[in-house]
Symmetry: C2
Subunit: 593 residues, 2 copies
């Protein structure tokens, strides 16, 4: 009944300030574990510790060395906690001493979550370079746009050079083709210098199908639960302590070693954990400890489709997550805007759901969901900054057959209405890269596997998926480089008038949101909303102190009359999306008042 | 987005006070549903309702009628919510009007949980008759023994006549060979007249492998989770609302229609439910409503091996369960008494764990468990009456290769020590039928399937199970009637001296527990415990008001000296398990004091 504490155990090769390398490999099934320095052929034997850990403190390895982990003097494998895979997922791991990076961001303070205005981007397709350095080139642009945080889609090492990031197989390694760990540190440092926060997307619910060597090392998976990706990651079965530690330490690494400001944790509803303390609670506790140590703030934001406020309620009863994505706002908004109504949109009937999303955050908060075929959701009174909303994101664009953005699905006027609808929420708005200038290129699903069977399986899977969703047209080949290229932003287009106008509109909207106390203060109690089904209009009123903002949204294709409150204050127009300034034919006027 | 409420929907055929039969069948996949009265051939067509329910209110069916449910004018099946299966699991269902029973227990009041002193029994092997009526014959005996509640192993209809009860396939039907629903009502009524409470064991984590027609009707199972019995019951997947209602209404039926005082819910750790509101919370809320309606008290006790206090904490944060079994007390006690240490006993090292069980209820409350290979458990400060403990039960006897009771594994003196150790707990003690007179017959695993493949599978499974647990000897054939007969209590033996003496000892112990304020008050804060590893002695001190009870337990085979508190009160011996009165050679004396 030995007790042991893992809270300070970092998997992989890490360095003390004195340059001593602490090696820790979890390999409960191995009889012996060695580190093989592949350039010199030198082998370093690790000592067996408790609970399947193998360890050594040594000065024999140096930053930059390539290595493999040798199990039983037989299998040479990359390190599950590798910090870098310069030759890809099947190659040797690389020793990284994070202490070598010279940070220049000590003036940086992570802003309050309320101030986050998020810009989601994919490193490979955002800039012409497709690297972290390419993002750095655009920081001035982003700063001028007005957003306050970039959210980087997953960068954990994946097979090949082209991937959304959700096929990562080394949670601790930064994708080599993006610029590796040093590249990410430079980007974060540059963001902080610009006054931008960095959110990193991380995946703790599965690992990708190619290059996953975890099973060779230990019981990272359990067959107790089935997920869309097969066996679930083992968060509550035998040997789960070490697996929980593996992911918990990963969170701490991004915050401590990479100065990342917030994580966006992918689809946490697929994390299956019946432990008395959910892994998200344990992660939150560790982050609280880290923050107390360093004095820096970090946020945990979850992608989560369960409308269960327990996840965002404070510890110890709740899971303590700082925020969550709510796709329902997106779904309600798209349906209201005249988008399609099949698949997961089937639960949404339009403008009354959108009104509910403004008012209650969760559209489904206990009623029957025809799509899920059960009663769904809880009521939530959580503060507005706990909810991230958007009119499009990588998933809802990229999970379409052809990956079309709103810019090619909706009229110019409707696009502006969508943007406005997002920018006035009492929640945190998020843009998807390029939407601010109505990028026309699609964002399609792409991979670059090296295994032929895997490539065939992904192609087949993609076809199957779209058989169910919508059966028109041929899905682009995910493995083709062309699909990837087609999905890159076309920065040249930004100089064309229409795109310029849209960018101007977005900037104006963002300035308005930041400068208006009524909009910037995320008080869900100082909000009224009503809608007219027939007119397809929605009326949102938010206030703070003496400042009142009324947002009138007309989702119909006609001019509509809106009755103002009879005894209301005198109103003046502060922004009209149909103003000629924004490429429209001004239609809004205030009568009476 | 239609809303609907199921809280008052009882599955199956139920009657109003006016004799109108309300028929409700959940068959979401069916195109038509009829009730076929098998004696007359009359068919009654049900109306399609929402969410796959089919219903009708009619006077055309009468108490006692045999019927089948006909799906799509094709398949004739027994009703999933059948109240009686007089011809077994594959036969027709029987219409039961519970209003016809004349209850005589309106003077009965379910005692406080603190007063429960539980006697677990198996209907088929407890009495010579093997029926509810057979139990009734023994109520005077049980009353004189001093227990306050009987706990009946599951009675939901299972295949054949011989089964522990955990292979039940009709959760609403009372086993025909035990006496059916009327037999159970008579037994409960008789218990209440005698002043005994009734706990019924129910199984909501799986259904048995033979006679399970649920899949023909609807999505009762989900492949999201794997359990020891295959796919889990669907408590959180699509269509779960109707499945949740099926089991919730089952709880209410036992309390409302059968006057059962408490349920013991089998292995609730195998109920997989990630819903915002766990099914146990929903059940507890319904029971609270029922109790408010009727003014009667009912308790929910769970079999549960997760040491997670969330399950027994009050609503709304906890799951609101009134009590739980703690097997750990049993394991620690058996190991201390010199029992085997393999399998699940491997986590227990003896007397210090037993001391911890007295002090902390959970032995594992966060430390690493070698058997589970992870850190395990939470600390609990829940009141003593929330924990049920025992020195043996059906599982720990019956899951042995030969099903031996303590009476053939431990010396007479040790048996008395085990009984004493249980009877002084600040928890609820439970006996397993026959232990009070040191029954010598085993309690073995028995079934009576009718399907040959199933019989072969069960035999094979049993052999496999014991390959892992302990590989000595041949497991008795579970299907053999002889195995069942061998497991019945031998009431004749009670007249033999040794058995008489043991019975006298148990009665004396029980009287002592009830009469001593210090023992009967389940105050976990007025308790001290210490132990001596070398001597193998344990010292338990409990008090209430001015009354102090010291329990000295000597698990060694030698006479041991115990130092009393130097400045403690004068002590007198109130019970000595080694007294000649209980067949021993008095060894205990108090010196000094």
């Amino acid at each position: 009944m030995a007790n042991y504490q893992l809270s300070n155990i970092q998997p992989g090769l890490t360095f003390t300030q004195d340059g001593i390398c602490n090696i820790l490999v979890w390999a409960p099934l191995a009889q012996s574990v060695n580190i093989l320095l592949t350039d010199t052929g030198k082998k370093i034997e690790l000592n067996a510790g408790e609970h399947g850990y193998w360890q050594l403190s040594t000065t024999e390895v140096q930053h930059g060395d390539l290595y493999k982990v040798v199990l039983n003097n037989e299998k040479q494998l990359p390190d599950p906690a590798s910090r870098a895979q310069p030759q890809g997922v099947h190659g040797p791991s690389q020793v990284i001493d994070v202490n070598g990076f010279k940070w220049t961001d000590n003036q940086w303070a992570n802003p309050a979550l309320e101030q986050y205005l998020i810009y989601e981007l994919h490193t490979g397709t955002f800039s012409p370079e497709g690297t972290f350095a390419g993002i750095t080139e655009k920081l001035q642009y982003l700063k001028e746009l007005g957003i306050t945080a970039i959210e980087i889609m997953p960068v954990a090492q994946f097979p090949g050079n082209r991937n959304w990031g959700y096929d990562g197989v080394f949670p601790y390694a930064v994708q080599n083709s993006y610029g590796g760990p040093a590249g990410l540190m430079e980007l974060v440092d540059a963001c902080h210098k610009k006054g931008l926060a960095v959110i990193l997307d991380v995946v703790y619910n599965h690992v990708g199908p190619e290059g996953n060597y975890l099973n060779e090392f230990g019981q990272y998976f359990t067959d107790k639960y089935n997920t869309p990706w097969g066996n679930a990651i083992n968060f509550d079965d035998a040997h789960c302590d070490e697996v929980r530690n593996f992911f918990k330490q990963n969170v701490l690494m991004w915050f401590r070693d990479f100065h990342v400001d917030a994580l966006r944790m992918d689809a946490v509803h697929a994390i299956k954990d019946f432990s008395p303390k959910h892994i998200l609670q344990e992660i939150k506790e560790s982050v609280d400890e880290l923050m107390a140590d360093t004095g820096r703030k970090h946020y945990l934001i979850i992608e989560f489709d369960l409308n269960d406020k327990r996840f965002i309620d404070p510890l110890p009863q709740g899971y303590g997550m700082d925020g969550q994505w709510i796709d329902e706002f997106h779904h309600a908004l798209r349906v209201t805007a005249g988008g399609e109504r099949n698949g997961y949109y089937a639960d949404f009937s339009g403008i009354s759901d959108l009104a509910k999303a403004y008012r209650d955050a969760y559209v489904y908060d206990g009623q029957y969901s025809p799509h899920r075929q059960k009663k769904f959701g809880t009521k939530t009174d959580n503060p507005g900054q706990q909810f991230v909303v958007f009119s499009q994101n990588h998933d809802h664009v990229g999970n379409r057959l052809l990956g079309e953005r709103s810019s090619v699905l909706f009229s110019f006027e409707m696009q502006k209405l969508l943007a406005g609808a997002v920018m006035v929420v009492p929640y945190l708005p998020m843009l998807f890269m390029g939407e601010e200038y109505a990028e026309q290129n699609p964002f399609q699903y792409f991979v670059s596997h090296t295994d032929e069977d895997m490539i065939a399986a992904v192609r087949k899977g993609r076809k199957e998926e779209f058989k169910a969703f919508h059966a028109e047209g041929e899905a682009p080949d995910p493995q083709s480089e062309e699909t990837f290229r087609r999905s890159a932003l076309n920065w040249d287009s930004i100089h064309q008038q229409q795109h310029k106008t849209m960018l101007h509109y977005y900037k104006t909207l963002i300035v308005l949101r930041k400068q208006s106390l009524a909009l910037a203060t995320l008080n869900r109690h100082q909000l009224e909303v009503s809608c007219d089904q027939e007119q397809q209009t929605l009326w949102l009123h938010r206030w703070e102190g003496d400042e009142h903002v009324y947002c009138f949204m007309n989702f119909s294709d006609k001019v509509q009359q809106l009755a103002l409150p009879a005894d209301g204050p005198a109103l003046s127009i502060i922004l009209d999306s149909a103003d000629p300034e924004f490429g429209g034919q001004r239609s809004t006027s205030v009568r009476g008042g």
